[in-house]
Amino acid sequence: MSTSSETKPLRPAQETGLLSWLGTTDHKRIGVMYFFTTLVFFALGGAESGLLRAQLAQAEQNLLTEEIYNQVFTMHGITMVFLVIMPLSAAFFNYLIPLMIGARDVAFPRLNAFSYWVYLFGGIFLYSSFLLGGAPNGSWVGYAPLASDSVSNMGFYAIGLQILGISSLAAAVNFIVTILNMRAPGMTFMRMPVFVWMALVTNFLLLFAIPVIAVALFMLQFDTLFGAQFFQPGSGGDPILYQHLFWLFGHPEVYIMILPAMGIVSEILPVASKKPLFGYAAVVFAGAAIGFIGFGVWAHHMFTSAIGPVARSAFALSTMFIAVPTGIKIFNWVFTMWGGKLKFTTPMLFSIGFVSMFTIGGLSGVTHAIVPHNAQQHDTYYVVAHFHYVLFGGALFGLIAGIYFWFPKVTGKMMSEKLGKLHFWTWLLGFNLTFGPMHMSGLLGQPRRTAVLPGELGSTVELYNLLSTAGVVVLTGSALVFLYNLLHSIKRGEESGLDPWDARTLEWLTASPPKHHNFDKIPTVTHRDEFWHRKYAEDESGMPISVPAGASEDHDGEDDPDEHIHMPDNSLWPFIMCIAFLPFGYGLVFLNPWLFGLGVLWMVVGYFGWIVEPLAEGDDDDVPDDVHDRPTVGATTH
């Protein structure tokens, strides 16, 4: 921290304690906050899924009424998608992007804090609905006109997701600028780690997809709360418009959830195979292609809706086509392992699990695109099986692999490998036990989003459902193992040293945990997998040779090495401003102009506090007066 000791009251300078967290602008701390918040929401979402499974364990059960069940499955979906997988990816983006590209922070540190607080308050807002008259109950897709029905509680959904959308949009802009504009000297695009590439693609997807759902939700909100007629068939409104808008967002959204995990796996597999990623360029381009094509397949969620045969055909084709770039990635990952020397560390196990389980989900995805038969599969547990295989077996496996992999980076300690392996195997077993049988129960006719498993279906699918429910028990136990391992290792884990995995990318170049300013000297990059190349060189035939230590070519990060490294100060304004989202949201949901006004006013005050406060004390916001306010030079000339 660069600042002098005298600080203004609203500017916490402590490095520990609550205030230091509320006011932090350090991308690493923000990443850590994201991470722990998603854990809490994951426990909530998991508990909800436990309730669902308990109700469906046997036919004709009445543990939950229809009313409760509908709220629970809706909140389960919303929680897992918007409060767990997306922000968990954001946790990785936050922590890793600056480190991986050799930067000291993200482009807009306070905006970054803002994103986190919006997310937190958005999540609190959504969950408070349970106490305020009932949680949303119109499913995570919120189809109109059901969702605009007065008894649907979907006001919370419409407003809550918009709040979360603000968080994602701000983060997307921030990360895009960071990646494009803050790479260390020499870090060209084709030298960027794949994770950073996938982060870039993901954030572009967010950038372009979030506005679409924002509009869908605005319309829904106006219909629900203010009597507008967007989706009201009585006056000629078209419910199908909502479906298009939702899925225009919704499909890119599923790639938003999977691409970060793909990036993570692309980092771990090479490290644990002791080989570079097979086909780096292909993997990168395939990722970009997935992102791009991902915008053109949305109507495959509407194959049984009111769209005609030409549209159905066109979207069937585009949907199938997306299997090609995905396949490229799968095969490149497998061939990364091929010919390597694999070390089955926990992150590696989860990465292999990812490749294997995701393939299953992907293949069932392709069978969905067989439109005539989609009419049988749609809205059955077969679809539920598909998306849990890609989301849980894919995204979540990948993200967990990342947790194990970068835990030593964040804490300087190792997580227990023994418990990690126990976690992996029980997780794999529990996962397949839970979701494998759903393929069958779905094809045998069990529809999703049904509060009661009808007795007449019971005899054919009851066993499968029982197995699924048993799977959750295994998963819960497994999650507890993980949680114990995590918390225990934070306190008592073995020292990890600087480079526990023999890693390849820049983040391992610096201390673990990294200092506030990440790098004492900004590294100069000369290779893809820069860190590895500082340890080894390759001879002509591709055989590696060790390089003597200390042969680094870093340039001086600062013109004057004695000067303090210039880092932004803490700021409470993002936090203060974001509290306003609570009165703002309640004001809208309950149509209370006072609350709403309070929220807006609060936000404006927060906004002014924010812009008036300089980024760092004494720094007066910008460069000294005599320098023209433009970036002076490109990085290469540095």
């Binding site: 921030n174 803050m182 950038l207 924002a214 967007f230 970036p631 030079v633 490109g634």
Partner: protein, 196 residues
Amino acid sequence: MAADVQATTLGLDHRKLAMWTFLGSEFLFFGAFVSAYLLYITTTAGGPGVEIFDIPFTSISSFVLLMSSLTMVLAHNAHAHGDLRRMRLWILATAGQGAVFLGGQVYEFTTFYNEGLNMTQSPFASSFFVLTGFHGLHVFVGILMLLSLYALSLTGKVKANQDVKTEMIGLYWHFVDIIWVVIFTVVYLIPEIAVL
């Protein structure tokens, strides 16, 4: 920003890059509203339709908004030359024109309302009001930003060499103007002609 002192990779200012990035996504936002409007253009549920528009009136307010882009760019130009005094003048002029435009919109909305077009009337009405309303909200936010820029330059928080700040707000302002160029044609003129 942390990296202002550090050179940037592309040699571009973070804030400008961020603004452009954001503006790119705004098309997706307005595009969805415009699509809904086009879909519902004849879905009036027996209420008033596009014939209710008062083209001469809207032309004038559109013209005002268009010209505010000129004053905006002049404000930036003044700032770029370090002339804060003139910059403030042009900023006020821009905000003023924005306010005129908003006033026109308020007037328009009330007239339409009195003539029987309200948001709960029909999908057409909903999509018209929400589309133009959201544009109005953007103008409003723009005015707020202009005013805060004005205030900050008075208190010395915005300095003569910091014309990126004016430029950024300017980008946003021009963008909102561009969107209105599209709305004016697609929402007002073309339907009106097609109906007449």
